[in-house]
């Protein structure tokens, strides 16, 4: 409870002052006292979080603290039990075409890439725009190639996902999400299934995105990324947000005991 009060105070401070990196844009995503349980297990408990246009928020926390669940609630891969989520000025649609349209506006990158296994790299990127946005194929192909270029896998366009390294697959997955021109990108531990040498190539793409002004919510324990690209760090514990702050302040001087414990465990590895 005491922590909650602290969090709210922080957020106001961030919104108004900050170190100049916090954008003053309007609120794009607003999560208001969202709770979610799986049976008896409380995965999210009264979570509040506002994300502004152009802002990059990094979510941290121990395994099982609810980071993935939070991301998945934002594009309604998981439904919430209570509270509300407002995206781009509208409550999340319940189902049907409106929900599909919302998801088209929210890009998601998964830990396990989830590229369409039966489609080539190019087709993976083209599928969404042509099927969902009804973009003419030639136009979609042209843009897909530009995106593959941007993430550095243009030369693999006619390969199948299984023929690519993990890092390459994840970059294609980012291109696939970007092809939809999302207003918000969600990353759920995009590098934790990757070998160390591939982590960097994915993080570089993400940093580039952040620099270009993409609004992002990224679950990642990559402190380098958080320091380079994040405007704000959110620390979760047992389904609650227990601390938020600027990356440097958070990593050098976390205010809560839980965050200190957590940081000492990830620093040791």
């Amino acid at each position: 409870m005491v922590d909650d009060a602290g969090t709210t105070a922080d957020r106001t401070a961030d919104d108004t002052a900050g170190n100049g990196t916090v954008p003053s844009g309007r609120v794009l995503l607003s999560i208001e006292s969202v709770s979610k349980r799986f049976g008896d297990l409380v995965a999210l408990s009264e979570v509040d979080l506002d994300v502004h246009e152009g802002e990059v928020v990094v979510v941290l926390g121990a395994s099982g603290s609810g980071k993935s669940t939070l991301c998945r609630c934002v594009n309604r891969l998981e439904t919430v039990d209570s509270g509300r989520i407002v995206f781009d000025g509208r409550d999340l649609p319940q189902e049907g075409a409106a929900l599909a349209a919302l998801r088209a506006d929210v890009g998601m990158v998964f830990q396990s890439f989830n590229l369409f296994a039966h489609k080539t790299v190019l087709e993976n990127v083209v599928l969404g725009p042509t099927r969902v946005r009804k973009v003419p194929r030639a136009e979609a192909v042209e843009e897909a190639r530009a995106l593959l270029d941007r993430v550095g896998v243009r030369d693999k366009e006619s390969r199948y996902p299984a023929e690519l390294s993990g890092g390459q697959q994840q970059r294609v997955a980012i291109a696939r999400a970007l092809a939809m021109h999302p207003k918000l990108m969600l990353f759920d531990e995009p590098t934790s299934a990757l070998d160390p040498e591939m982590i960097r190539e994915v993080l570089d793409v993400m940093v580039g995105l952040a620099r270009d002004g993409m609004t992002m919510v990224a679950v990642t324990h990559e402190m380098g990324f958080a320091r380079r690209a994040a405007d704000r760090v959110v620390f979760m514990d047992h389904g609650r947000i227990v601390e938020t702050g600027e990356p440097d302040a958070f990593f050098t001087a976390p205010r809560t005991e839980r965050a200190r414990d957590f940081l000492s465990t990830i620093l040791r590895h």
Partner: protein, 214 residues
């Protein structure tokens, strides 16, 4: 023996009818079975219930009983069609449940992340099923579907019991004419083995070709 050999053409025509029945029956079963699966996995509850009920009912009645009811019951209800058509429809309705089980197993073999990725880029239920899930599911289903087809071929012989002149029907007729059960039924059996072997071979080929690109 000699007499029977003279009637090879007659038997071959029976095999032809068997094949036609099987192909039509299987095609119908494939379409209906896929539709049933879509109903059973879709988010609309009444459709799910209907799909499940259908499968439960048809799987728990012997095909022969169903065939007899169908062939003799329909005219009573004022619907008349040829014996051939009746049996083809019957096979389709009946084997749809087997196709349904095969497709469901195929869908379950597709990692759940594939469906989530499809939904996450804004695909509707139908789009994700049609462009992402089913195409991948069918790859794992070649062998199970081939087994269903073989089931249809063998079960089409039940048509003999209601007077369809397919391979077994004709075999019985020859047997009655010449009282040569062993050679006639051996010939018929050879016909079925030929077809099922061909199907198994073809399925193996198709499976291999699908495995290459992925």
């Amino acid at each position: 023996m000699h007499e029977v050999v003279h009637h090879l053409g007659y038997l071959a025509a029976g095999l032809g009818t068997t094949l036609e029945l099987s192909l039509l029956g299987f095609a119908g079963a494939f379409v209906l079975g896929t539709l049933l699966t879509v109903m059973r996995v879709c988010p609309i509850v009444p459709l799910r219930v209907v799909g499940t009920l259908y499968v439960e009912v048809f799987r728990n009645v012997p095909l022969l009983a169903f065939l007899v009811l169908f062939v003799f019951g329909l005219p009573d209800a004022g619907i008349t069609c040829s014996l051939f058509t009746s049996e083809a429809v019957c096979l389709a309705l009946y084997f749809a449940t087997y196709v349904c089980e095969a497709v469901r197993a195929g869908i379950n073999a597709v990692p759940v992340g594939q469906a989530e990725a499809a939904r996450a880029i804004g695909m509707t239920f139908g789009q994700s099923l049609g462009t992402v899930i089913l195409p991948q599911a069918f790859r794992t289903m070649v062998q199970p579907l081939a087994n269903v087809f073989i089931g249809v071929v063998l079960s089409s012989s039940l048509g003999a019991a209601v007077g369809v002149s397919e391979l077994i029907g004709r075999t019985q007729w020859l047997d009655l004419q010449y009282d040569e059960p062993v050679p006639t039924f051996l010939l018929a059996a050879a016909g079925y083995v030929l077809v099922t072997l061909a199907v198994a071979l073809l399925a193996g080929r198709v499976q291999k070709r699908m495995a290459v690109r992925r």
